[in-house]
Structure formats: structure tokens, C-alpha cells
């Protein structure tokens, strides 16, 4: 069915206190593809992707059972450094959140934290990351201006560049276009199409049309359960589960 698997979940369950937010999730996410997570609010999609980069470690109380494997290694196993995980599995959030620094410093921040101090190397990383995020041409003449002066769409692409700067393998995107206008959204979607050639992209979205446009695979979740997972074309043309069809056709949700 799919190309090489990069993340596998086996009987993954998560509780926020007594709230059973993820129920026995078993799935395999393909590398170098885009997978969209869809479902009504509160279904667990953001919770699930936050499991992939251990962001839920920062939530208390939060209990996880089951396993999440990344390249066959347990992400929650002993000796697995969450900071290193977040370098390899980066995240872009719904609201663009550039640091109150220059564009250059935003992108260079991560590599510096991870020990890169050589200026030429940093310049190279910043340029390459901004190029990969399709932002370089728009900011190359004002790299040292405040990033807060960029437009919403540019700020979001800056956040993507910031993620790319630390050389991830997976990019998690939690409704990355919700706060953007249609033109900025289109640019992000075009960027996703390019990024998936080199990275695994996982995107949470409320837009059915966006999911059908940008993704190769789609996962539909409902009340903490994974209802259906399959090729996007099949999900949106002829879903197997009635619940999936009722959701994507707007009969509920």
C-alpha cells in the first residue's frame, strides 16, 4: 500500500487525566509522503501528532500506553532524548510564532542551540532553509529586520524554515493555514508539495479540500478512534466506512 514506513503506532492509548483521548491507535505512516489527519474538533488529531514529537511530555497529567516507533526505535523508550526527537520531528503550529528577533536569527537559533557556531556555516544553513521554505527571495534583502514585520504567510514560512534548519526528517503541521489568507494558504500548499519529496509531512487540517489537495494519505479520526486510513484518492472518492463518508460529505461534524 505505501512506501517505507517512518512512524508506527501500536495500540497507542493516551489519557489526559481520566479523559481517554486516544484509543488503541494502530497505524503506519509513510516516509516522503504527506499524510493528512482529519476529523471533528476534539477527535484527537492534534493530540496524536503531538505524541510523535513528545510535545505531550509537557502536559500534566498525561499517560501514554502502547508504542510509537520511529525508524523502528521506541520514541518513548529509555535513553530517548525528547530534545533530539524534536530536532528530527519538527512542528509548525496554527498561529505563526516567529521569535521576536530578526529573520536570520529565527532560522539560526536552532542550529546554534545544537552547537553550530561557525558564521559561514550558519549563513549557509539560513539561506538553504529559507530557500527550501520558498521565502528566500522575499527576505534576502532584509534578513536582519525583525521577523515580526513579515506578513502572516511569510511568518508561517519562516516557521517552516526554522524547522528545516535543524535537519528534520518529519515535519508536523497543526492546521498551518488556518490563520492565513487564501493566497498565503496556496503558497504553503505548494510548499508542502515540494517538501514531501525530501521529508515526511503530517498535516492536521479542518479543510476537506485542503486534505484532498495536498495529501497522499488521509487518516480520519473520531472521538479518539482511528476510523479509517487510506490513500487520499480512495478516502475522498469511495470511503470504506460510513462514518468517514458522513463526515467528509458534511452530514455531521
Amino acid at each position: 500500500m505505501k512506501s517505507d514506513t517512518i512512524i508506527t503506532t501500536e495500540h497507542l492509548n493516551l489519557w489526559y487525566g481520566t479523559n481517554h483521548a486516544l484509543k488503541d491507535i494502530c497505524m503506519e505512516l509513510p516516509d516522503k509522503k504527506t499524510t493528512a489527519f482529519i476529523g471533528p474538533s476534539g477527535c484527537g488529531k492534534s493530540t496524536l501528532i503531538r505524541c510523535f514529537n513528545r510535545m505531550n511530555d509537557l502536559v500534566d497529567p498525561c499517560t501514554i500506553t502502547g508504542t510509537i516507533s520511529y525508524h523502528g526505535r521506541d520514541l518513548y523508550g529509555p535513553g530517548c532524548d525528547p530534545v533530539a526527537v524534536r530536532m528530527k520531528i519538527g512542528m509548525v503550529f496554527q498561529k505563526p510564532n516567529p521569535f521576536p528577533k530578526s529573520t536570520y536569527e529565527n532560522v539560526a537559533f536552532g542550529p546554534r542551540i545544537h552547537g553550530i557556531k561557525d558564521k559561514n556555516k550558519l549563513d549557509e544553513i539560513v539561506k538553504e532553509s529559507l530557500q527550501k521554505a520558498a521565502l528566500w527571495d522575499e527576505v534576502s534583502d532584509r534578513l536582519f529586520d525583525s521577523a515580526l514585520g513579515l506578513s502572516g504567510g511569510q511568518q508561517q514560512r519562516l516557521c517552516i524554515a526554522r524547522t528545516l534548519a535543524v535537519n528534520p526528517e518529519i515535519i508536523l503541521m497543526d492546521e498551518p493555514c488556518s490563520a492565513l489568507d487564501p493566497i498565503a494558504t496556496a503558497k504553503i500548499e505548494d510548499l508542502i508539495e515540494v517538501l514531501k519529496r525530501d521529508y515526511c509531512v503530517i498535516i492536521v487540517t479542518h479543510s476537506m479540500s485542503q486534505a484532498s489537495r495536498v495529501s497522499d494519505y488521509t487518516a480520519f479520526m473520531y472521538l479518539g478512534d482511528l476510523i479509517e486510513f487510506g490513500e487520499t484518492r480512495q478516502i475522498f472518492e469511495n470511503p470504506k466506512e460510513e462514518l468517514t463518508e458522513n463526515y467528509i460529505t458534511g452530514r455531521f461534524g
Binding site: 476537506m208 469511495n238 470511503p239 460529505t249 458534511g250
Partner: protein, 212 residues
């Protein structure tokens, strides 16, 4: 959205019925050489065109506004394809009627039996397709290809009989030539019915049948 979709669905089925009436009435006119009836079929054509254009615009608008997916998408795609098929069927009815206008007032009954069997088979196929589309039930159209095979066989018989008749009664050659064209149009209507059945089955099940 649901109301609009139901309205479009009903209107497409009505267009199918209208096109079928054009074909059926043209054949009725053929069997008794009724030029008045043939004329009334021709006069139905502008209305068919209006229905086609109106429905096409409504469906394009629906797709642009609602971006349907899954069964809604399949229904809309099927409906767009069906109005093209129905428009072709209605026009073939009109083409048959136009030929009847030019028929001489002579007895051409020898050819009628086979072609009436063919006409009956084809109109029943189309009728079943329209019903299947309207009710969203595919039981009656799953083996449409077998019925089309029968129509193709009847076509061969009509051609053979008509040619034999033209050889025997040379003054009827112009009429015979029209019969050959009418038989060909009916054979194509049978193919249209198969195309419609395939789309309706896809609309209902999401699977594309293989009609050989």
C-alpha cells in the same frame, strides 16, 4: 446543499425521461409513418437543449461552491455525464423524426418488425437506466451489457433484412437507406444506455464496472 442536490438529481432524471419520450415518439411515428408526430418530436428539441444547458450550469456552480466529495462527488460527476448522454439520445430521436418527414407515402412495413423489436429493447434499457439513477438502485442495470449484445444482434438482422428488401424492391432504396441509418442510431442509443448504466453503478457503489 442537500436541497440543491436533490433538485438537480430530480431535474436530470426528468431530462432523461424527456429524451426517452423523444426517442419513443419518433419510433411510434416511424411504425405508422406519422409525419405530424415526427414534427412534434422535432419541436421538442429546443426544450431539450435548454434543459441541458441549464443543468450543466447548475452543476458547475454546485461543484464550484460546495466542492463535493465521496458519494456527493460521484453523484454530481455522474449527473454531468448523464445529461450529455440524454442530450445525445434526444437528438437521435430528433434525427429519426427528421427522416420520417422525408419518407414517401408507401408501404414499408416489411422492415418494421425487426426494427420495432430493436426499438423496444433500447427504450426499455434507457428507461431502466433513468429509474436506476432516480432511485439510486442498480439491480436492474447490472447486466446492461448483455441487453446491449441483444440489440447489436437485432441490428445485424435489420441490416440484413433491409438490404434484402432493397434488392427486391429497388424503388424503396431511399427508404431502406433511411432504415439503415435509423437502425444505426438505435444501436448507438443502446451503447448510450450502457454508458449510463456504468456511470450510475459507479455513482451508487463507487466501483467502476467493466462492461465489455
Amino acid at each position: 446543499m442537500r436541497t440543491e442536490m436533490a433538485s438537480i438529481h430530480g431535474a436530470v432524471a426528468e431530462m432523461g425521461e424527456y429524451a426517452l419520450v423523444m426517442l419513443t415518439e419518433s419510433l411510434d411515428a416511424l411504425y405508422v409513418n406519422d409525419k405530424q408526430k415526427a414534427l412534434s418530436v422535432i419541436q421538442k428539441n429546443p426544450s431539450l437543449t435548454v434543459q441541458y444547458r441549464t443543468l450543466e450550469e447548475e452543476m458547475f456552480r454546485f461543484i464550484a461552491i460546495y466542492q463535493p466529495v465521496a458519494r456527493d462527488m460521484r453523484k454530481m460527476v455522474c449527473s454531468i455525464r448523464l445529461i450529455y448522454n440524454f442530450e445525445r439520445i434526444g437528438r437521435m430521436g430528433k434525427d429519426i423524426a427528421k427522416m420520417i418527414i422525408d419518407f414517401p407515402d408507401v408501404n414499408h412495413r416489411p422492415c418494421i418488425t425487426s426494427i420495432s423489436s430493436m426499438g423496444e429493447a433500447v427504450t426499455k434499457m434507457i428507461s431502466d437506466c433513468v429509474t436506476a439513477y432516480l432511485k439510486e438502485e442498480s439491480d436492474q442495470i447490472l447486466e446492461m451489457y448483455k441487453r446491449d449484445d441483444i440489440v447489436d444482434s437485432l441490428y445485424e438482422i435489420v441490416v440484413e433484412e433491409t438490404i434484402r428488401w432493397m434488392n427486391q424492391v429497388s424503388v424503396m432504396i431511399p427508404v431502406g437507406a433511411s432504415y439503415l441509418i435509423i437502425a444505426r442510431l438505435l444501436e448507438r442509443c443502446g451503447d448510450q444506455a450502457c454508458n449510463i448504466a456504468e456511470m450510475v453503478i459507479y455513482m451508487i457503489s463507487g466501483e467502476r464496472p467493466v462492461f465489455l
